[in-house]
């Protein structure tokens, strides 16, 4: 358990069994009055921020987070099935929990899942993934109108702009943190 005097920016505490991180912290103590610990806290699952004022008698349950290496198996009705690569346990995460990661997830990709009290709350992809281009306009030599890039669609349905020489069937590397093209994968 934490005491109020442990509170500080960046500390993670539980409120109503949800994990929160303190984003703004202010200690005040008026006159000869009691200490007040004013916090802005962000829910680590929903991202919603709340304000709370605590007193010195308040105590807080720490947030314990576990990371587990898992493999993405398949998607069905917006539910993503993942398997623990050590004990083969399977879990499901929904669209909301996964966020934009689905743009870069192909079957059998290795990911890291963050667990809060046995609940999966976040998914981290490798920084770079290789994906196949499924739709691209052909490159017309000397075409200067379309400029330095053109839109393509990947096997996951994600669209992005790439250099004009990328063709349908090419494999390209994407930076999952920015969602941008990095290079063509030589085959």
């Amino acid at each position: 358990m934490y005491n109020a005097s442990d509170l500080r920016k960046g500390l993670k505490i539980q409120i109503d069994n949800e994990p929160y991180i303190i984003t703004v912290f202010e200690f005040s103590k008026p006159g000869k009055g009691q200490a007040l610990y004013r916090c802005k806290l962000k829910n680590m699952i929903s991202g919603i921020s709340i304000n709370r004022t605590y007193r010195s008698v308040d105590t807080f349950k720490p947030v314990s987070l576990d990371e587990r290496k898992m493999q993405y198996l398949y998607e069905q009705d917006n539910e993503y099935c993942l398997m623990d690569t050590e004990n083969y346990e399977q879990i499901f995460m929904n669209h909301e929990q996964i966020g934009d990661a689905h743009n870069f997830m192909t079957d059998n990709i290795d990911v890291t899942i963050l667990f809060f009290e046995e609940r999966p709350i976040d998914l981290t992809l490798p920084n770079f993934v290789d994906l196949t281009v499924t739709k691209a306009d052909p490159w017309v030599k000397g075409d200067s109108v379309s400029g330095d890039s053109k839109p393509v669609t990947l096997e996951t349905g994600y669209t992005l702009r790439v250099p004009p020489f990328i063709e349908e069937g090419s494999k390209i590397t994407i930076d999952t943190r920015t969602g941008e093209y990095v290079t063509r994968v030589k085959t």
Partner: protein
Amino acid sequence: MIPGQENMSHESKHNQDQYPVKFRKEQLWLRANMIQAIRTFFIDHQYLEVETPSLIASPAPESHIDAIEAGNLYLQSSPELLMKRLVAAGYNKIFQICRCFRKDERGRQHLPEFTMLEWYRAGIDYKALMEECEDLLFTVVKALGKEQKIHYQGQTIDLEKPWKRISVRQAFDRYSSITPEKALMEDCFDQIMVTMIEPHLGSTKPTFLYDYPASLGSLARLKPDENDLAERFELYMAGIELANGFSELVDPEEQEERFKKDREERTRSGKVNYPMPKKFLLALKDMSDTAGIALGIDRLIMILGNREFIDDVVCFTPDELQENSRP
């Protein structure tokens, strides 16, 4: 010229995170010069400078102030009780600049170890003390070569006397939708003070907030005509609480009763109790009417030096003393 002003300007542009104390020259000079000016004021006004021990046996049993243990004694959370014993012994005008220590107090305006100016004067009450406080700060600011209008974090505070005075009742009336009595009953007095009232106090002129509910002035005399109010005041500048003063309670029996209540409250909230300050109570018998005040030196430097954080006005913060932290 005030010492230190000649070599301050060119060094402050570097990354302040690398070696914080290097970039506090302006504030440390201000601190030194300010303390000199304060001493001069009190010496000019025939005050005796005293040094009471920092290691004490029985801190005042305040409900919300915790002392730090040092062996089988305590580091003083305030020099109040020992200074009043001096007043009771016939030292009618005394002042002290000393370190005070308070457990678990750390924030933008709080350090667990800080510098306090405290002074007592026999024969006056809290209203006269407010005027002396005005005189002191007015004189100190002038001695520092600063203008009468202070700029602090976007606010301009005019020190021209007289300063603003507003009673606690008026402040609750003006800035909140609750009376002080109701706030006390619902245990939200401090919260309303911090969130709704303090931010307005002292924004254009220094402001005295005065006449606190009786229960919030453990060592203060009650008003003779309204004994639900204590003759206590706080001084605010730019929303920052700078000083706390009152007409001293000099009735040993009543003081003992109040201490007992404070100790019970400490027990209820799971806090340790200190030995009853019996020698202080005994001394009160010999004390005549007196007013006394404590003023936070670090916060005054913050205001005059236009710093948002108390960290910027001390040589080293507690965090910087940790061996695994920055220099």
